[in-house]
Symmetry: C2
Subunit: 345 residues, 2 copies
């Protein structure tokens, strides 16, 4: 036989042993997210979870999403500990708007060249997010795909499954003219608009992660990595309240595209822009990027992470309740006749 | 004011309108996967799904995975219609081994530069896979991440949720010495070992997608894109049968790592390699890559897509039942005392 180099899986960039070692490091943390309904142990093919008993006609609510190119900010700064929380909180909010509370999360990390420390840090963030929201990190997959992802880069994807009693599904059908639109403040960009924001901040403005962010008493890295808020704890007491008519998570598409998703035919949301001052972060992005208003309100949350539609005579009560739960909330507009639009006035 | 170019989200590589248009194209197909328990319509924040009634102590079984760099073969060949089926079938098998039948799937496509035709084709494949396995495509996300993925490239991730009655959970605990190990044939590489296989086929062997695959009456593209088999239909009749003691999906880690995952302490699986002839595909990969035996049996499935452990006196009955369901199955070994290993003899 001719001399031939022996090829191994590791030669092709895949190291199964390193992947196993990385999981050992986070096993304890993942275990700590187990809830009373979690049945399976780490390492089984699928995660096992009891359907919680005592729920009237239980309906599962599921959603899958990534944190977008916020991971590229994590990579630039070398801080991988918070994007996992972003992922969980984003997913939690996505099912919260249908009245669901989370049961469990599964994460997927696609990565080019496994760096055990980074994977561990990412999964730790996911586990912390799960703990904070009272759900289990039921399973996950780290896929080493060296020819798809650049060395060290990764995508972080999460899937959440929650549950709601059928009579308590929030679908916006109770929304009527004259309802109040309550805005709940965001902590920053959350997980949307990062492709545009990074282009403005690192491109047009030429800033580095450790530079101070203009007009803010914080570094560029800190501002861009601020963790997506979960509104679960603040809104949970209202989920069984008939006066809460709808919730919209302000993600990609902003206030303009997300509020209409819950509006019945014939109704629009009239938003009074003077009801809050746009946070300086967004003002700077708009000015330095020369981005027009409509584009800003679609690409970014503009300071509003969640919108609640509530019976007008319960607006003050909801605002107070949210404030006492630590959220910034205000009456930002009302529901009017219209063609299922967000109208900014 | 100085002249400044106006930046839009599209300038940063993200086109929200194109993403919406792509979804319209697949809406009908996705809708066709709705099952009796699917509640939500496309476009809601989360997918809604009834917990099916009439199941004794229902336990949810969930798993998330990607098809790995099989997508790079799809990209090389321009054939994106089958990797979605691979994804679903892989996920279905992953929860089948715990006794679960699938309820719904959510897909995630991370992509660099959205090509509507490709996204539609990918989601169509996922939907077809769901239809074939009787589960709903409940939701999904296409994330346009131009700075993370190279133009036109994508990662395809799926999450499955299934259900099993608690008394019917398959966890391998019933496996005992003398049990028969049944192998069920794979259709090809399924979704594992693609980084190594691509390196051998396109690197060492210098083949192009349209070349004939040596020793096989088919093109390289056809051989490498053969769809991952779902074993749901063939094994479903056995899930409630006490004589079926365990199932192992032969994925990354191969026969060597996957069978031990279901073995109780003190038992090993003795596999008789002469019970089947290694399919020519794997023989060619081994010879041309100079890959040693142990590496082959960890990186690839070697012709076995699923392993079933069954009471010895039911081995023939299971093999016949699988054959009549269209599967190739044979007695490949037995359970012996040991240290939770796969022993190839």
């Amino acid at each position: 036989m001719s001399e031939r180099r022996q090829l191994t899986y590791r030669d092709a960039g895949v190291d199964i042993d390193a992947a196993s070692r990385a999981m050992v490091g986070v096993a304890e943390l993942v275990r700590s997210t187990r809830t009373a309904d979690t049945l399976s142990e780490l390492g089984s093919f699928g995660g096992l979870f009891h359907v919680p008993p005592g729920i009237d006609s239980p309906v599962l609510v599921a959603s899958t999403d990534s944190v977008g190119t916020k991971v590229l900010v994590a990579l630039m700064t070398g801080r991988h500990d918070t994007v996992g929380e972003d992922l969980v909180n984003h997913c939690v909010n996505d099912i919260l708007v249908q009245g669901a509370t989370p049961l469990f999360v599964l994460d997927y990390i696609g990565v080019g060249g496994l760096e055990p420390g980074v994977t561990e840090t990412l999964v730790s963030g996911v586990a912390r997010g799960c703990l904070a929201n009272g759900c289990a990190l039921l399973g996950g997959e780290t896929a080493e795909l060296p020819d798809l992802y650049r060395p060290g880069e990764y995508d972080l994807v999460g899937t959440i499954v929650g549950v709601v009693a059928k009579p308590q599904i929030l679908d916006g059908s109770r929304i009527g003219p004259g309802d109040a639109v309550i805005a709940i403040g965001s902590s920053g960009l959350h997980t949307n608009g990062y492709s545009l924001a990074r282009r403005i901040v690192f491109g047009e403005m030429g800033l580095a992660p450790n530079d101070p962010f203009p007009g803010l008493d914080d570094s560029v890295a800190n501002v861009l990595l601020r963790v997506h808020r979960s509104y679960l704890r603040a809104l949970q007491p209202w989920l069984a309240n008939d006066h809460l008519h709808g919730l919209a998570h302000i993600t990609g598409g902003g206030l303009l595209d997300n509020i209409p998703r819950i509006l019945p035919e014939g109704l629009s949301a009239l938003i009074d822009r003077s009801s809050w001052s746009t946070p300086p972060l967004f003002q700077v992005l708009q000015r330095e990027g020369g981005v027009d208003d409509a584009e800003m309100y679609r690409a970014f949350n503009m300071g509003v992470g969640m919108v609640a539609v509530v019976a007008a005579d319960h607006a003050d009560s909801l605002v107070e309740s949210l404030a006492s739960a630590g959220e910034t909330a205000w009456v930002a507009g009302e529901i009017i006749s219209g063609a299922r639009e967000t109208i900014l006035s």
